[in-house]
């Protein structure tokens, strides 16, 4: 009985650990795998900052952006994001969304630039950097820019470790 008890206990620990690891890895992979899988209307977690509460206006605009993106109204969404940036120029997720929209609208060069700008404001936000590098990787592939593609891959690998 005791043996069975310990066996069960160890097994439950094992299952829990496996679940935990798989959850964590899902979290990691969500960032860059989803890019190809769910191109439209996908809301990345890194696109919201919890410290943005200082300006409720940003949240209002981001909600509108979400709705516009879901309707594929990318021009209007871009416009709202520019308004966000006029409120807070260093709001890295807004730059990241602009990068994503550029990717959706076949502007890979613009996507790379916007993602780099986002990263310049997201030095301590690994999740967002990872997302931005995944955009850069996708865009550089479209541009046939192998050097940037390789660099993006290296960055993604380094950030996921």
């Amino acid at each position: 009985m005791v043996f069975m008890f310990y066996l069960l206990r160890i097994s439950s620990y094992l299952i829990f650990s496996i679940l935990l690891v798989s959850c964590a890895s899902t979290e990691k992979h969500e960032v860059y795998d989803s890019l190809a899988d769910k191109p439209a209307g996908y809301k990345y977690k890194a696109w919201r900052l919890t410290d943005a509460t200082e300006f409720e206006a940003i949240n209002v605009l981001l909600n509108e952006v979400d709705a516009l993106i879901e309707n594929s109204s990318f021009d209007a969404a871009t416009d709202k994001l520019e308004r966000v940036l006029r409120i807070r120029a260093d709001y890295a997720p807004a730059w990241s969304r602009l990068s994503w929209i550029a990717l959706q609208t076949d502007s890979p060069k613009r996507s790379v630039d916007m993602a780099k700008r986002s990263n310049s404001f997201a030095q301590s936000n690994v999740q967002l950097q990872l997302l931005n590098w995944s955009f850069i990787r996708a865009a550089s592939k479209a541009l046939n820019d192998d050097a940037t593609y390789q660099r993006a891959n290296q960055k993604i690998n380094a950030l996921t470790i």
Binding site: E54, F55, E56, A57, N59, V60, L61, D75, A76, T78, D79, K80, E82, R83, L85, R86, I87, A89, L98, R110, D113, M114, K116, R117, S120, F121, Q123, S124
Partner: protein, 788 residues
């Protein structure tokens, strides 16, 4: 008939006097007789001719005339009736909790938008009440490129130059984001300078139409374009009074006169007018004719701009759209139809009030208003909005036109009724103008000394303000855009950035040689660059060289890194292509303030360049989006190297050639002075966290001034930034950068207390690895601090 009788009697007399010629005469007489019969017939034919030829001919001519007039009318009405100027708007003000804005600025913005300051809680659109730091505002609704922004009634509380509370007054809930209407800047006009805001008949309030018809044409919906009863009535009244006191023209006739005919008082014009009115009414619906009249009628003058139509007139005189006017305001506009100049409420308020009351009385008689309303409305004062005349900010409008000309023909700009949304910040523009107007006379009594300034946003390259002359409203030569002058030391950050991009070779602590230098070129005479103080300083760090704007080390560095590379960096930062001469390293290259602003925008954004833009969107005349100019950004330099330069540019404003700035400003900025040879040009370019500004002063004829960059342009820059900048420039956090204390005497690592030690930034791994011996090079600060 009498003429025939006369002829026969004279023939008889002739017969009696000459009997020999009887036969002949008989024969002749016979001939005559025989010819008399056709003559009578001829007379009959003539009558017939009149009836059968001339009359039809006249009829044909008349029909041809009608056809021609008909063509004129239909061509005009079925084509484009008017050439509509483009309307240019400033950026809209947005308020939210946390927004940096002073109470003074908000007050300015509301005045700029022609909002009316009232004593009570604002009830009408475009009104506000200001008590200490609290504003209660009822905004106007407005159609932007992304849709309609509804009107809001809000309370704004401003403390320490920030919005701390933003409340919807009626719902008593938080207002998260409020966008105001965009202020009208000017129009881009066709040659006749007519301006109008087109209204659809459905947008015109019913009461206004009733009022207009009551005063101008009571039987409008029952006549055919010409009203004989009105003409007869006017005739009687005018005959009775002995002068022209009443017109009998219908609205249609007035419209025909304004659209197709001259103003001369001739019977032929009146006849034309009548026939054309009949034709117009035959072809077109009454409502369309009325709508055209409402948009065509002349209602005053704003400088060269002619105000046409009630849509524009209501905005021009009352600062709101027609549908938002009160009855007395509508009555005033309707009254103006009789004489736009004589009843102009801005110039002749008494005449306007008198006429308005006539209209109101007529309304009361027609039961459109009650006698109580008449009593109340008749005593109301004539309030019009203060209105700066159109054509403000000519230098900025030049920039707008330049951008638009890339996508639009100039004819389209002045005829298609475009609505152009620009980036101009009216408050910053005002403060820039003030800084130049107030500071320039303190720099020199010579009124020929000129200045220009450009202010842009670091974030996105939006052009916020442009001044092109010491008199900002001057519409001539625009120095901000077109005066290309030597930029002097403004180039040095570009030279040193090129060096710092080669991180293996250059850091801020790299020692540069500041000793006599001769540049030899087989094709030209030797060139011996000198420092401003005419001295050489031996080995100096790159940091100090930039701080003190030494020339010789800049030349050596530029030559070392390669002049072509310097020009490439300049281009990558948003500058233009320039020839790679050695003197480039000292700024012997001509640029306009706008071009310099483009380069320094890149520095302010830590290397990310956004092309300068003055237009964000264009709508067509039906207010549908036509063109959107999105934010663009690119980086072609190493951002970490730019941050190193910026760290030095901050110190330029604290310890270097621009150190006086730190005494005048309460926030951290970064910038660079620039002076060209013989003090011909005085420049300052710099940035805070929220604005980049470039100021130039000098003479148009390129004569020397007595001003350096710091004694001239920098003073204007300082007075400007003091007023418009809220955010300090902060170096970005970068994980690839580290700071170390460096002994500036030898460029080695130092202890913090070392006399010549400064804290410099380095790309990781590029810092010096040797320690300086501070004891031999200076004193320890902490020791002296003990006694001080």
């Amino acid at each position: 008939m009498p003429s025939n009788k006369k002829k026969s009697s004279s023939a008889d007399k002739h017969k009696a006097k000459n009997p020999k010629k009887t036969v002949a005469k008989k024969q002749q007489s016979h001939r005559r007789r025989t010819s008399k019969i056709p003559a009578t017939r001829k007379k009959i034919s003539f009558k017939r001719a009149v009836v059968f030829i001339l009359l039809p001919l006249s009829l044909l001519v008349f029909l041809f005339y009608l056809f021609i007039q008909d063509q004129r009318i239909t061509q005009r009405f079925e084509g484009r009736i008017w050439q509509l100027p483009a309307h240019v708007y400033a950026r809209p003000l947005e308020l939210y909790v946390g927004k940096s804005i002073s109470a003074e600025q908000l007050d300015f913005e509301l005045n700029y938008l022609n909002y009316q300051n009232v004593e009570q809680l604002p009830q009408k659109f475009a009104q506000y009440r200001h008590r200490q730091n609290i504003f209660e505002i009822k905004t106007r609704d407005f159609i932007f490129w992304d849709g309609n922004e509804p009107a809001h009634t809000i309370r704004v509380n401003i403390e320490n130059n920030k919005v701390v509370e933003l409340i919807n007054i009626y719902s008593n809930s938080n207002a998260d984001l409020v966008r105001f209407d965009a202020g009208y800047l000017t129009g881009i006009f066709p040659s006749h300078s007519q301006d109008r805001v087109l209204l659809k008949i459905d947008e015109v309030p019913d009461i206004f139409i009733k009022m207009l018809l009551l005063i101008e044409d009571r039987r409008y919906f029952s006549h055919w374009g010409v009203d004989p009863r009105s003409i007869a009535r006017a005739l009687v009244v005018n005959l009775y009074s002995g002068q022209t006191v009443q017109g009998g023209s219908t609205l249609t006739q007035q419209l025909v006169k304004n659209l197709f005919l001259s103003q001369e008082k001739k019977i032929s014009r009146k006849i034309n007018e009548a026939f054309m009115s009949l034709l117009l009414e035959y072809h077109y619906d009454k409502k369309l004719i009325l709508e055209t009249y409402i948009n065509e009628i002349y209602l005053g003058q704003d400088g060269r701009r002619a105000i046409h139509g009630f849509g524009l007139a209501s905005e021009f005189y009352f600062g709101k759209s027609l549908k938002h006017l009160s009855i007395d305001e509508m009555a005033l506009l309707v009254g103006m139809v009789k004489g736009a100049s004589y009843y102009n409420p801005k110039r002749n308020p008494d005449h306007a009030r008198e006429r308005r009351n006539v209209v109101l009385s007529a309304m009361a008689q027609a039961d459109l208003i009650t006698s109580r309303q008449l009593e109340l409305l008749s005593v109301k004062p004539v309030d019009t909005v203060r209105h700066a005349s159109s054509g403000r900010y000519p230098a900025f409008i030049d920039v707008v036109k330049l951008q638009l000309q890339q996508d639009y023909q100039s004819d389209d700009l002045s005829s298609e009724g475009l609505r152009v949304f620009t980036t101009l910040d009216p408050y910053i523009q005002f403060k820039t103008e003030q800084a130049i107007k107030n500071t320039l006379p303190l720099l020199s009594k010579d009124e020929k000394l000129q200045s220009a300034a450009v202010v842009v946003s670091p974030l996105n390259g939006d052009v916020l303000a442009v001044v092109g002359d010491r008199n900002p409203s001057f519409k001539g030569f625009n120095r901000a855009l077109n005066a290309e002058r030597q930029i002097g030391s403004l180039i040095k950050p570009v030279v040193y950035l090129t060096a710092l991009e080669d991180e293996e070779k250059y850091t801020l602590a790299t020692l540069l040689d500041d000793s006599e230098f001769i540049y030899q070129d087989s094709n030209q005479s030797d060139w011996k660059p000198e420092n401003y103080d005419k001295k050489f300083h031996g080995d100096v760090t790159l940091y100090e060289s930039l701080l003190n704007s030494y020339n010789v080390p800049a030349v050596r560095t530029g030559l070392d890194v390669g002049l072509d590379n310097v020009t490439k960096t300049l281009f990558a930062l948003g500058g233009k292509e320039v020839p790679a001469y050695p003197s480039l390293t000292l700024g012997a290259v001509n640029m306009s303030p706008m071009e310099v602003a483009s380069i320094y925008q890149s520095f302010s954004a830590n290397g990310f360049h956004s092309p300068l833009r003055s237009v964000t969107a264009v709508l067509d005349k039906t207010r549908k989006p036509l063109e959107r100019y999105s934010l663009d950004v690119a980086i072609q330099v190493k951002p970490e190297a730019v941050v190193l330069i910026n760290s030095a540019l901050i110190d330029v404003t604290k310890y270097g050639t621009a150190k006086h700035l730190s005494k005048n400003l309460n926030l951290q900025v970064a910038g660079k002075t620039g002076t060209s040879d013989d003090l011909r040009d005085s420049w300052f370019a710099g940035f805070s966290g929220d604005v980049v500004a470039v100021v130039w002063t000098g003479f148009d004829d390129n004569l020397p001034t007595t001003l350096t960059g710091s004694s001239g342009a920098m003073k204007i820059w300082s007075n400007l930034i003091k007023e418009v900048a809220y955010k300090p420039y902060q170096l970005p956090e970068r994980t690839d950068l580290e700071t170390y204390w460096i002994d500036t005497k030898n460029g080695l690592l130092a202890e913090q207390g070392c006399e010549n030690a400064v804290e410099l930034s380095f790309i990781k791994g590029t810092q010096p690895n040797q320690m300086s011996d501070c004891e031999t090079t200076g004193r320890s600060n902490w020791f002296f601090d003990l006694f001080e």
